[in-house]
């Protein structure tokens, strides 16, 4: 194999599994370490740099980082990355003065952002310090988008949304609430230098079966949740059936329990492993005694005298045909009696306000064609992000879209090519403090994951505003942070220092090193004491070693970053180095700011 190029920031970035897995590439181990040091404000700010809404995300993030956390490959449970973020939010001090200043003199460029969700607000967050004027249009009376209108208050209290959205708005956004944009054509005629569309995927999918429109007790989940959020709906029937198996279904069923539902069932057509809901959304629902009924496909709304009395389902048996395709067979039929049905079977993008004759290309699903790198539509200067760009995703994806769109908008306004973007950079600094002393907590902690305390069952349903999770207690989070394996503290190898004494190989607690003759990757992977069997994780191959010409191998898969290899190395051929990923934002792309910084130095 060719020697590994560790000068490429993406090599070490990939070693930090959580950061790599995070769409916005949040420096997770960095902020966890700051919490461990009691630096909560710094931890919050480190988060904010990449994910903009740490308080919100610390409660409701989809957390793609956790399933990929290294800890899962060493023991059972990932570090409670998401809930530690909430700790930083709960304990932070004032931080407004730490934000990059917004210049008084504007740069003369005006941007329209449509929809006051997290995508648009990220665009505003990134562009304000560059002197842009931002007009933000929102059809609802409040900011927040689906975060406010759909995520129930028992998961995310409104004060958290207020704080994090207001911080950005108060930095100088011209906010126009109750102001739906009804024509893209008209907007294009106004004097905006660029337009950002962050209108989300606002339509819940319908289920058009017999009886659908014969009663007024059938609701579309996301519209229903919005009505609940804005208190247009404050009760449900005692017996509620929710159709669907995703996170929206979970929010609907748990909300129902708080609005008078006594017998609440979630009915899904497939098996449990096909449900789209995350474990951490399903489990609390089951804890709250929701009935989960699997393999039942809806057939009819049973309505008597204009009143919904039940829902008829076909019981299905699933099989795989010869091509591995799933097929179903109806084996029975039941009517589940109920007073309310809530449909939670998906969301769609609709753009009724975008005229089809403005030169914007739409795909077969009537969704605009958007470039996955620049986020530009086929109309120059019109950018999309968040759920509006590629269909319903989640908050952290929307934030990342916002960052990227902001870069594009800045380039567009400066007539620079949109694809000419900065690469990632990195800082690498030795973590050595003394002979056996490191600037991080390198010992392995055997603790199992701590559970976040919650409001007891008997008092949580009284009011839909009661936040269920209470957040980690100090005694818990101070130990939970120690479970982090410090993946950002990299094992950095300098081949020409190695004297091939084998000390590192013998001391490694997970047997992930080896010195051997160079060969093909398969052979090398098998040579490691405990073979490197996870092809998704990189195999490091050094330059030729000076004494014998062999190579040093390291399987990145389960290294616990304990630093023992570096401690046992007599020549410091291995060193532990703190890796910092430098992520370019709109401000970094700004030639003027950079020139000014260079001058100041």
């Amino acid at each position: 194999m060719q020697p590994t190029n560790t000068k490429d920031p993406q090599y070490y970035h990939k070693v930090v599994d959580c950061q790599w897995g995070c769409p916005a590439h949040t420096d997770v181990p960095g902020y966890i370490r700051l919490i461990a040091q009691g630096k909560y404000t710094e931890s919050y700010m480190l988060n904010r740099e990449s994910n903009v809404f740490p308080g919100i995300l610390g409660r409701v993030c989809d957390r793609p980082c956790e399933p990929v956390c290294r800890r899962v490959r060493v023991e059972d449970e990932p570090v409670a990355i998401c809930r530690l973020k909430r700790v930083a939010d709960d304990l932070k001090g004032d931080y407004k003065h730490l934000l990059p200043p917004v210049p008084e003199t504007k740069n003369g460029k005006k941007i329209a952002c449509i929809g006051a969700g997290c995508a648009s607000l990220t665009v505003a967050n990134d562009l304000l310090p560059l002197g842009y004027e931002i007009d933000l249009f929102e059809s609802l009376p409040e900011t927040g988008g689906l975060i406010r209108s759909n995520i129930p208050k028992f998961r995310l209290p409104p004060r958290v949304i207020d704080e994090e959205f207001d911080v950005i708005v108060e930095r100088g956004v011209n906010l126009h609430l109750n102001h739906p944009i009804e024509s893209m054509k008209n907007l294009l005629e106004e004097d905006y230098n660029a337009i950002f569309v962050g209108t989300g995927a606002p339509k819940g999918r319908e289920l058009d079966l017999p009886g659908r429109y014969e009663s007024d007790q059938v609701f579309v989940g996301i519209a229903w949740l919005e009505s609940v959020a804005f208190e247009h709906i404050d009760s449900v029937g005692e017996r509620v059936v929710i159709i669907g198996g995703g996170n929206t279904a979970m929010d609907c069923c748990r909300s129902s329990l708080r609005l008078g539902g006594k017998d609440v069932k979630v009915v899904y057509r497939g098996s449990r492993d096909r449900m789209k809901s995350s474990d951490w959304e399903l489990e609390p629902a089951l804890d709250e005694d929701i009935d989960l009924i699997l393999n039942h496909s809806p057939e009819e709304y049973v309505v008597e005298n204009g009143k919904l009395v039940g829902m008829r389902f076909a019981k299905l048996k699933w099989d795989q045909d010869d091509n591995g395709k799933l097929t179903s067979e109806k084996i029975d039929e039941i009517v589940i009696p109920c007073d309310t049905v809530i449909l939670a079977i998906g969301q769609e993008n609709t753009f009724p306000w975008v005229e089809r004759d403005i030169g914007m290309e739409f795909d077969q699903w009537e969704v605009p064609v958007v470039d996955p790198v620049t986020y530009e539509s086929t109309v120059k200067g019109v950018f999309f992000g968040g759920d509006a760009a590629f269909g319903p995703k989640n908050i952290i994806e929307a934030v990342e879209h916002g960052h990227q769109a902001a870069i594009s908008i800045h380039k567009y306004c400066n007539t620079e090519p949109l694809t000419d973007r900065l690469d990632y950079g990195m800082n690498l600094m030795s973590a050595k403090m003394g002979l056996h002393e490191w600037s991080y907590s390198n010992d392995y902690d055997y603790d199992k994951r701590f559970e976040v305390p919650t409001v007891p069952m008997d008092s949580r349903f009284k009011d839909i505003n009661i936040e269920v999770e209470l957040g980690f207690e100090p005694g818990q989070f101070r130990r939970e942070v120690e479970r982090c394996l410090n993946c950002d503290i990299q094992t950095d190898f300098v081949a020409n220092l190695c004297i091939e004494c084998d000390a590192c190989i013998d001391v490694c607690p997970v047997d992930c090193l080896m010195i051997t003759d160079n060969a093909d990757e398969d052979v090398l992977r098998s040579k490691i004491k405990t073979p490197a069997e996870n092809p998704e994780q990189a195999l490091f191959v050094s330059e030729d070693l000076p004494h014998t010409g062999r190579v040093m191998l390291k399987d990145e898969d389960v290294c616990i970053h304990c630093g023992l290899c570096a401690e046992r190395c007599p020549t410091a051929a291995w060193d532990m180095k703190k890796f910092e990923l430098l992520i370019p934002y709109a401000m970094d792309e700004d030639k003027q700011t950079n020139a000014m910084q260079a001058e100041a130095v």
């Binding site: 060493v74 056996h436 004494c501 084998d502 000390a503 013998d506 001391v507 616990i560």
Partner: protein, 351 residues
């Protein structure tokens, strides 16, 4: 040494031997030797050896004298028996232990100081007795533990850290052992585990005294320019005379050796060694040949390695002394203690 303890993490795909044990199960406490010490690598090779040979830890005794090298039995097989003897006196403790129980695996770990200075007498007689043990010399040319004085294995002209050359003639444990009638003599290098592990396996399965002299650089006191026991000097001057492969009793020979190029020796305690010559004229079963070759390569400033000499036909200590094979702790009280009448009779003979 390191401050944190090596964490215990069991990987799903960790290798297990026939006893279901992992490498970790054969480890000991954290080494307190200097980082990069050759002795630690030999410890690693010993762990690999006993793991591969499926040795039940309770059937193994680790013995040593005094020195950095002699500390190492604490760093492997912490479920096995051990005896850390007085400086240079490990062979007599081994003799006593073996008289009481010949059914154990004996691993002695010593240093060039422990063996060739204070312990040279005991060493010579352990060879003559043909004690059934693996005797490893972790040879670094200095007394590491007492801060790097030249040992008896230091070459003439090899310099100390501050530049003073050694003027006394070195003792080569291999030449000495072959001439004293040792039945298994090998040399290797801590930095060449591929060579070392099969030698350790063969030595442990050999019946009789198996000496392995392992060049094991002292990173702190003897790894500088001018030293002839440094990593780099050893690597540059090594000359492998005989390739050794150890074949487990139940496994098949995987490598194809060209006809007539190899020599197979069945080992008394299980398995066999396959020796293939790197040098045409070398004969690892001819004592005079072996001594001459080692001597000649020494004169050329080369370090001859591999299984230098083997004779599997000799009776060991237990057979020669005609002592009982059953461990004494398994004998009944009646058999162990013949009673006062028999004692009186015995004493009668010495009156």
């Amino acid at each position: 040494m390191s401050y944190i303890k090596k964490p215990k993490i069991l990987r799903d795909n960790a290798k297990r031997n026939e006893l279901g044990m992992t490498y970790t199960d054969y480890e000991g406490s954290m080494s307190t030797l200097c980082a990069g010490c050759g002795h630690d690598a030999i410890t690693g090779a010993i762990i690999e050896t006993v793991f591969d040979l499926n040795i039940p830890p309770h059937r193994m005794i680790k013995l040593s004298g005094i020195g950095c090298s002699s500390k190492t039995p604490a760093y492997f097989a912490n479920q096995s028996h051990g005896f850390n003897a007085v400086h240079g006196r490990m062979p007599s403790v081994a003799t006593g232990a073996q008289s009481a129980n010949s059914q154990m695996y004996y691993i002695g770990v010593s240093g060039d100081g422990d063996t060739l200075s204070i312990g040279i007498g005991q060493f010579a007689h352990a060879i003559r007795r043909n004690l059934n043990m693996l005797y490893i010399i972790e040879n670094n040319g200095v007394y590491g533990l007492t801060k790097g004085q030249f040992s008896a294995s230091a070459d003439i002209g090899s310099t100390a850290k501050k530049g003073a050359p050694n003027l006394q003639t070195p003792i080569d444990p291999c030449q000495m052992a072959i001439s004293l009638g040792a039945t298994f003599v090998a040399r290797s290098f801590s930095g060449d585990r591929e060579q070392l592990v099969p030698l350790l396996k063969s030595g442990l399965m050999h019946r009789g005294f198996a000496l392995i002299d392992v060049i094991s650089p002292c990173v702190t006191f003897n790894d500088h320019e001018g030293s002839t026991k440094s990593y780099i000097h050893t690597r540059e001057h090594i000359n492998e005379a005989v390739y050794t492969d150890y074949i487990h009793p139940l496994s098949e020979i995987k490598v194809d050796y060209p006809e007539g190029s190899t020599l197979e020796v069945d080992l008394h305690n299980g398995g066999k060694v396959i020796l293939s010559k790197a040098h045409k004229n070398y004969s690892p079963v001819n004592r005079s040949d072996a001594i001459r070759s080692v001597r000649e390569s020494d004169d050329r400033g080369e370090i001859l390695t591999g299984l230098l000499y083997i004779d599997e036909s000799q009776a060991d200590f237990i057979e020669n002394e005609n002592t009982i094979e059953t461990p004494l702790n398994e004998l009944s009280y009646q058999n162990l203690c013949p009673g006062s009448e028999k004692l009186a009779k015995l004493q009668q003979r010495y009156k």
